[in-house]
């Protein structure tokens, strides 16, 4: 399903999000700009922006098989998102980056760095920070020390100085972007949203793959365009929320929306998690503000033992606010962390009388036939009738 949105900005976002390298990134590079790749939303883009770099979130987009990565990560045991992402690294898709910081979340993700170092891919700067597993002041302080260490190493390697002023500017920029992104999400509360879930993914993912100031300006334009769109006809049968890892492409949304559902919200690693809240823009230490945001305000990863109550609250709040009819909990095979989280959520939602469909799948949208059947049945159920 498409919303029928006609927008140059939107088309630009679609092109950027559907591949890896794009003209804007290429242009940045050609003008001598540096690019820092990163995995995981816990890795703060603000630090890279303050270093004058373009933050580029590493994805598995476009990867059709993971043969090369399967030599490093055993295919029956490691989630396909990690393998496809690393496969893109091995096939040279990320040869344009000047460095990468791996956010050490789950066991597989943590070892992307070790395997990258062993691979023939010669990325000049490779580093790692570890995601906190608790959400308290002590953990925030520990995370702050990690960020401080990373900052020093970046300054040494790239010969830059990351000042507090630059960090505050970067924080402000990213907060602005998150504000606009949330506003776009908010438009989907209406009965006839001007943008679909699949289209929203393109908007959000594009933001992690292009220069930030330009992205902010484009978002503003898009928002204005969306706000002026009038959708009179209801084109869907059920309103769905997606919860789970990844979600860096629209394949799941496409399936739902092709079958008469509409994805009105999500809490995923590339979507709802990324846009949540804002970093405090006052205080003496911008790095501390970032650390506090990641650990205390936005600890949505189920790897964090304190995350579930926040995940639960966010899901239930959004179900109410966005008038969600049913939730789809998607897990990639071999993802223990989200497997447990979706399991717990499933019970809680069932108790609250909210339908949930639990889907275990591979990162690439294979077996879509099977998936489609299950999704179709779910949509029929929650819409209360045949499509």
């Amino acid at each position: 399903m498409k919303s029928g949105l006609k927008s140059e900005v939107f088309e630009k976002f679609v092109k950027i999000s559907s591949g890896i390298m794009n003209p804007l990134t290429s242009d940045w590079r050609n003008k001598g700009g540096r690019i820092m790749g990163y995995t995981c939303s816990f890795v703060p883009e603000e630090l890279f922006i303050a270093a004058g770099m373009l933050p580029f979130r590493i994805r598995g987009t476009g990867s059709r098989n993971s043969d090369m990565a399967d030599d490093y990560f055993e295919s029956a045991n490691i989630c396909s998102m990690i393998r496809h992402t690393f496969n893109n690294v091995l096939t040279g898709e990320y040869d344009f980056i000047d460095g990468a910081v791996i956010g050490g979340g789950c066991d597989g993700n943590r070892h992307i760095l070790d395997n990258w170092l062993k691979s023939p891919v010669k990325t000049p700067f490779l580093d790692r920070i570890f995601i906190p597993h608790a959400s308290n002041e002590l953990a925030a302080e520990y995370f702050l020390n990690q960020l401080s260490g990373l900052k020093v190493r970046m300054e040494e390697h790239f010969g830059v100085t990351i000042t507090n002023e630059k960090l505050w500017d970067a924080i402000k920029l990213c907060n602005e972007i998150r504000d606009f992104q949330r506003e776009i999400y908010t438009l989907r509360i209406s009965d006839n949203p001007p943008i679909t879930g699949a289209e929203t993914i393109s908007v959000i993912v594009a933001g992690s793959s292009m220069p930030k100031e330009e992205y902010r300006d484009d978002l503003k334009v898009l928002l204005s365009e969306l706000q002026s769109v009038k959708v009179s006809e209801k084109k869907y049968q059920a309103r769905v929320m997606i919860v789970g890892p990844g979600h860096d492409d629209s394949s799941m949304c496409d399936i739902v929306e092709d079958l008469g559902g509409l994805v009105v919200n999500d809490l995923t690693c590339f979507g709802g998690k990324v846009i949540f809240g804002s970093i405090k823009e006052d205080g003496p230490d911008p790095l501390k503000a970032i650390a506090d945001y990641q650990v205390l305000t936005r600890p949505f990863c189920p790897k964090n033992l304190g995350a579930h109550p926040l995940i639960n609250k966010e899901v239930f709040d959004k179900i109410k606010e966005f008038k969600v009819d049913g939730v789809m909990g998607q897990i990639f095979l071999c993802c223990d962390t989200w497997g447990g989280e979706i399991y717990i959520l499933n019970k809680e939602l069932r108790e609250a009388g909210i339908p949930m469909l639990r889907i275990e799948r591979e990162y690439t949208a294979d077996s879509t036939g099977q998936l489609r059947t299950r999704v179709q049945a779910f949509i029929e159920t929650i819409s209360g009738g045949a499509l």
């Binding site: 399967d70 030599d71 070790d114 062993k118």
Partner: protein, 261 residues
């Protein structure tokens, strides 16, 4: 490889500092060549020189029990002139002066060679797992620090820290021909002195981690064997071997001499 140069100088400063504090310091200057290093040693050095293990009751002295203090690391440089080839420095009591006690133990091995670089780090570290190569001296399986035992027999034969230094030098120099100069420092004077050495070790460890990462980066990889049997290109060969072996076993059980494959 110059990253350790500053620390090689720090070790020299440490020794002078110990001297200034009145520590007992003995300095030995031993030959450079592997052959000469082994000559006159009271114990054998080489593969299988210490085939057994040294039991508690056979121990003359224990060095570096973590309860009393232990520290060990290596430093290397591509400037051989920074390292005093053949020098063995002992700060504190030697083995014969130990009164059968357990001594704190610090061991620093310095190596110089124009071709020594980051790639050699892992190999040099691996050489340090001396295993059974020094008669009467057993290094316990431990990481980062050294925890070892000297047997009564070895002590009776005159094994001392100079012997240990010579033995280690011969093992390292014969294990890696890029080592042009080598020096050893042993510290047994006290836990506090070991702690000071450990502070240097902590800084060195940060650098060695970086070296390890860089070394992995330089390596390539080859896909000639997948990670489990089902996708391995050699699986048919393995399967054939297995069939042959099964057939052989069966025939042997039947008492037949020949078989067809």
């Amino acid at each position: 490889m110059t990253v350790f140069d500053a620390y090689i100088l720090k070790i020299a400063e440490y020794v002078e500092d110990m001297r200034a504090q009145g520590r007992r310091i003995a300095v030995f200057n031993v030959p450079a060549s592997v052959k000469q290093l082994k000559e006159g040693l009271p114990v054998r050095v080489g593969p299988n020189a210490n085939p057994g293990i040294i039991l508690r009751e056979d121990t003359y002295v224990e060095l570096g029990n973590p309860e009393v203090g232990s520290c060990a690391f290596i430093l290397f440089t591509d400037k051989p002139e920074l390292v005093n080839d053949g020098r063995i420095t002992v700060i504190g009591p030697d083995i014969k002066d130990s009164d059968n006690k357990s001594l704190p133990f610090g061991q620093v091995l310095l190596m110089g060679g124009t071709e020594l670089g980051g790639r050699e780090h892992e190999e040099l570290k691996y050489l340090g797992f001396v295993g059974d190569q020094i008669e009467g001296y057993m290094v316990r399986s431990y990481t980062r620090s050294i925890w070892s035992r000297v047997s009564k027999d070895a002590a009776a034969k005159g094994f001392c820290l100079e012997s240990l230094g010579r033995a280690l030098m011969s093992i390292y120099k014969s294990g890696n021909t890029k080592i042009e100069s080598m020096e050893a420092l042993f510290v047994t004077s006290g836990r506090g002195d070991i702690k000071e050495l450990d502070d240097i070790a902590t800084q060195v460890q940060k650098i060695t981690r970086e070296i390890v990462r860089e070394t992995w980066k330089i390596r390539g990889y080859d896909i000639d064997c997948a990670n489990d049997c089902s996708s391995c290109s050699d699986k048919p060969v393995c399967d054939d071997i297995r069939e042959v072996l099964r057939a052989k076993e069966k025939n042997e059980q039947k008492g037949e001499e020949s078989y067809n494959v």
